[in-house]
Symmetry: C2
Subunit: 450 residues, 2 copies
C-alpha cells in the first residue's frame, strides 16, 4: 500500500524551495492540515515548506478537478474549519493531499497556473495567524509511559510505584477542551490552592509549573454511543497527530487531586498547529515495543493483528528550554529532552479501542493525548519533575542558571520528527509556549469572550 502512494515517493521534490531543505518539517511528503486566520476570516490550510496552501483559495482557483474527491474535500474545508473534512471517509483527504502533491511537485504540469495565483493560494506561514486545527469536542489524556508513571509512583513513596491497572488498560482521564490553545504566545501562570513549605494551605500564583511532552491523536470519523470501535478498525478512526504540551501546575495538582487532575492542568494546554496525517506517517509505521514476558496477557479487545505489527511509529520527540537570561545573551535554547514514541506502553489504536470499549462515543475532532512520553534514559525524561528527580537534582543550564520548575519568561518548544532510512523525514512543526507572570488576582476582570 505504502509503495503505491505517490505522495510518499521519496524522490518527489517541490518547486517551493523551502520544502526541499533537509531540516524542514514540511517537505512535499508531509502536507499536514491546519487552520489559520487571514483577512480576519478563518481558513483551513496545508503546510508546505515555509508556506501554507489556503484551501478556500484553492477551491476558488479552478486548479482542482470539479467533482473529484479532492474538490469535495476542498469544499468541505472551505468554511475554515477541518471538522467536516475529518468526518468524511479517508479517501477524500487522501485525494486532496494527492492533488496538492501533484500541484506542488517540481515538474507540476499546472505550475504556471499556480504561479498566476500564488499570493492568494500560498501565503507565507509567517504572514498568517495560526489557529487550533479543528474544533475539539472532548479531550482525553492518557498515562501510557511506564517510566513516567513508575518515577512518579516512586516520588510519592508508593510500595508498588506502578498502579495495578497500568498493564491491563491504558489509564486515562478526561481533560479540559476549552483551554486548549494553538502553539505560541503566553501561558499565564495560574492561581490556585496549594500547601506552602510550612504545610499551610494558601491561595496564590502556583509555584511549581511544569511542561509535559506528549503526542496527541485526532479522531477523524467517530462512533455511535453503545458501538465500540474494534481494535482492528481503530487505526482508520485516527485522522492524524500533533504535539501536545500538557502544562501542569504541580503544586495545585498535588493538593486538589482526589478524582484526577483538574485546575492543575485546565489553565492552558498547547497544541502544535498542524495535524500530521496518519497517511503521511504510514511509511514510518513500526511494530510497537513487545510487552515483557511476565506482563499480563493482552486482552482480546486490545489485541489487533495490524496494530501489533504496525501500531508504533518511528517518531523522535524533543523539548527545548530557553530562559530570559539565555535569550538576552543570544544563546540558543537548550535541549532538555530527547525521547521516542517507543516509550509508550500502549498504542493509539489501543487507546481508541479501550476508550470506546464501554460504548463511549468519540466524535470528529476529539483529541487523545498520549501522556508524558518519558523513557528509561535520563535524556528521555519528558517533564521537569522527572528531569530534576522531583526537585532533588536541579536542572543546570550552560549559563549557570538552575531550575526545579518553570519560571516566568521560560519558554518550552516541543518538536517531533518521523525518520526512517529510505523515507524523507517529516516533522510536526513546533509547539511553543512562554510562561507569563500571574496576574494579580484583583487585576483580573471578567470579559465575555467574542
Amino acid at each position: 500500500m505504502t509503495a503505491l502512494n505517490p505522495t510518499h515517493d521519496p524522490a518527489r521534490r517541490s518547486w517551493i524551495e523551502s520544502a526541499n531543505q533537509p531540516d524542514t518539517d514540511f517537505p512535499i511528503q508531509n502536507l499536514p492540515f491546519g487552520a489559520f486566520e487571514r483577512d480576519g476570516e478563518p481558513r483551513a490550510g496545508v503546510a508546505i515548506g515555509e508556506h501554507v496552501v489556503d484551501l478556500r483559495a484553492l477551491r476558488d482557483s479552478g486548479l482542482v478537478e470539479a467533482g473529484s474527491d479532492a474538490a469535495i474535500a476542498c469544499e468541505a474545508a472551505a468554511d475554515g474549519t477541518l471538522n467536516r473534512l475529518m468526518a468524511m471517509e479517508p479517501r477524500y483527504a487522501s485525494a486532496l493531499r494527492a492533488a496538492l502533491s501533484d500541484l506542488l511537485k517540481s515538474d507540476a504540469p499546472q505550475r504556471a497556473r499556480v504561479d498566476e495565483q500564488v499570493r492568494a493560494l500560498l501565503p507565507r506561514v509567517d504572514e498568517v495567524a495560526l489557529r487550533l486545527a479543528c474544533e475539539v469536542g472532548d479531550y482525553t489524556d492518557f498515562l501510557t509511559s511506564l517510566h513516567h508513571t513508575e518515577r512518579h509512583g516512586r516520588y510519592k513513596g508508593l510500595a508498588d510505584p506502578l498502579p495495578p491497572a497500568f498493564k491491563s488498560l491504558p489509564i486515562a482521564y478526561h481533560g479540559r477542551a476549552s483551554s486548549l490553545r494553538v502553539s505560541g504566545g503566553e501561558v499565564r501562570r495560574p492561581h490556585g490552592q496549594y500547601r506552602d513549605a510550612n504545610g499551610q494551605i494558601v491561595f496564590g500564583p502556583a509555584p511549581a509549573l511544569d511542561f509535559e511532552l506528549e503526542c496527541a491523536a485526532w479522531i477523524g470519523r467517530g462512533n455511535a454511543l453503545t458501538q465500540p470501535i474494534p481494535i482492528d478498525a481503530a487505526h482508520e478512526h485516527i485522522f492524524g497527530y500533533s504535539l501536545l504540551n500538557d502544562w501542569s501546575a504541580k503544586s495545585i495538582q498535588w493538593f486538589e487531586q482526589v478524582l484526577g487532575p483538574f485546575l492543575g492542568k485546565s489553565f492552558h494546554s498547547s497544541l502544535s498547529p498542524w495535524i500530521v496525517t496518519a497517511e503521511a506517517l504510514a511509511p514510518f509505521r513500526k511494530a510497537p515495543v513487545p510487552r515483557a514476558k511476565d506482563d499480563p496477557p493482552l486482552m482480546a479487545h486490545l489485541n489487533g493483528a495490524f496494530d501489533q505489527q504496525h501500531g508504533g511509529l518511528h517518531l523522535e520527540l524533543s523539548a527545548h528550554l530557553s530562559t530570559a537570561q539565555l535569550r538576552e545573551a543570544g544563546s540558543a535554547p537548550v535541549r532538555i529532552t530527547q525521547t521516542h514514541l517507543d516509550n509508550l506502553y500502549w498504542t493509539f489504536a489501543q487507546m481508541v479501542a479501550h476508550h470506546t470499549s464501554n460504548g463511549c462515543n468519540l466524535r470528529t475532532g476529539d483529541l487523545l493525548g498520549s501522556g508524558t512520553i518519558s523513557g528509561a534514559a535520563d535524556e528521555a525524561r519528558a517533564c521537569i519533575t522527572e528531569l530534576t528527580n522531583a526537585g532533588k537534582d536541579p536542572l543546570r543550564l550552560p549559563n549557570g542558571e538552575t531550575r526545579t520548575a518553570l519560571e516566568d519568561g521560560d519558554e518550552i518548544v516541543l518538536g517531533a520528527r518521523a525518520t526512517k532510512p529510505g523515507a524523507v523525514s517529516i516533522g510536526f512543526g513546533e509547539c511553543r509556549g512562554r510562561i507569563a507572570p500571574a496576574f494579580a488576582f484583583a487585576e483580573q476582570r471578567v470579559e465575555t469572550p467574542a
Copy 2:
C-alpha cells in the same frame, strides 16, 4: 428584586389548564427552556403545563413586539439551539419569559390571537421528541456532598474518610460531554475491565451499575481564558439548572481509577430536558447551610456576600426505582431517595469561582454537576452504593425483590421541586433512564453517527 418580577407573581395562572394543576412541574411561574425535534427539525422551546412553546413558531407569529428584547431572544433561539440565547445578557431571556408569561396568563389580552395559531405555537410535549437542551462544550462533575464523600471513604477503609482538600475547595473532575443524553430511553449496560469475585481481571458486561442523583448548573455567559469569574459575579454566569443522573459502572470504576473516573462513567449520563432558569428559581433562594465552627475558614475568592446569603435553594430532590417485575404487576415505582440541595457543602457559585480561579475559561452551555446529593439521613442517600451500605444491606422492594446494584430492566426516575411558603412550587421535569442488557461484544458494529 424578586417582588417586582411579574413572572414570579404567585397569583398568576394560565389559560392552559394543565399548567394550573397543583402537581405540575411547569406552572406559568416556571417557563423553563429546552430543545426538541419537530418535523425532523431542531427547535428551541419553553415548557408550560403539558405543552411546549415552539420558539420558532413564536418568532413567526407576530405575537412578540418587533425589535423588543423578547423578539431578539426569540430570534436567537430560532435555529433550534439555545446556546446563542444563553450567551446573551440575562435581560434577553428574562424579557422572553416575561412576554410568554403575559401571553399565557389567564387574562392575556392576546389570548384570541394565540388561539388562532395554537397548534403551531403550542404542541403537546408528548407529541414532540425532546433533545438535549443545548450544545455542551465541557462537562465538569463536582464532589460536594460531605456525606456521600465520607461514606465512600469509609467503604474504602480510609483512616480519614474525607480527603484533606474537601473543605478547602469543591473537588471536581472533567466528565465526558459526548455521552450526555436527554432523559428517556435506554441506558446500555457497558462492557469493561474489572476484578471478579476471585480477584481475576476480566472483561465483560459491568455487574455493578449504579445511579447518582445530581443537580447540574448550565453556564450562560462564559469568561475569557486567564480571567477568573469573581465569586460576587458567579451567579450571573449561571443560566439555569437541570437534573443529572451520573450513571456509574462501579466495578469498572474501582479497577480503572488512577486519575479519576473514566469509562466507569462515560458510557451514558442523563439530563432532564428542561433548563429551569436561575430567574424562575430566584424566589426559592436561601442561605447555604453554614460551615461548621471547626471547619477551615472560607478563602476570600470563594466567599461572596450575596452567595453567603442567597447561594442555596429550597430544592427537594428524589429518586424512584421501578423494576420489570414491579411494572408487570402494575405497581408504582418505589421512592428510594429523598434529599435536599442543602446537602451540598459548596454552592454552585463557589463551584464557578473555583473552576475559573486558575484562569480556566467556561463557555456557554458548559455543564457543572453537583456530585451525588446525599445527606446524613438514610432516606437521603442518593445512590445504591450508599443505600445498601456498599452492598452489605441489600435494598428490599415491597414485592420482595432485592438490589445491591441496578439490574437490566430497572428504571430510575429523578425529580426535583422548589418549594417555599408563599410561592408557587416549580419542578424540574423528570430525568428517566432504563438499563438495557449489554450487547454481546461481537454484536457491536461501528457506525458513523449522522
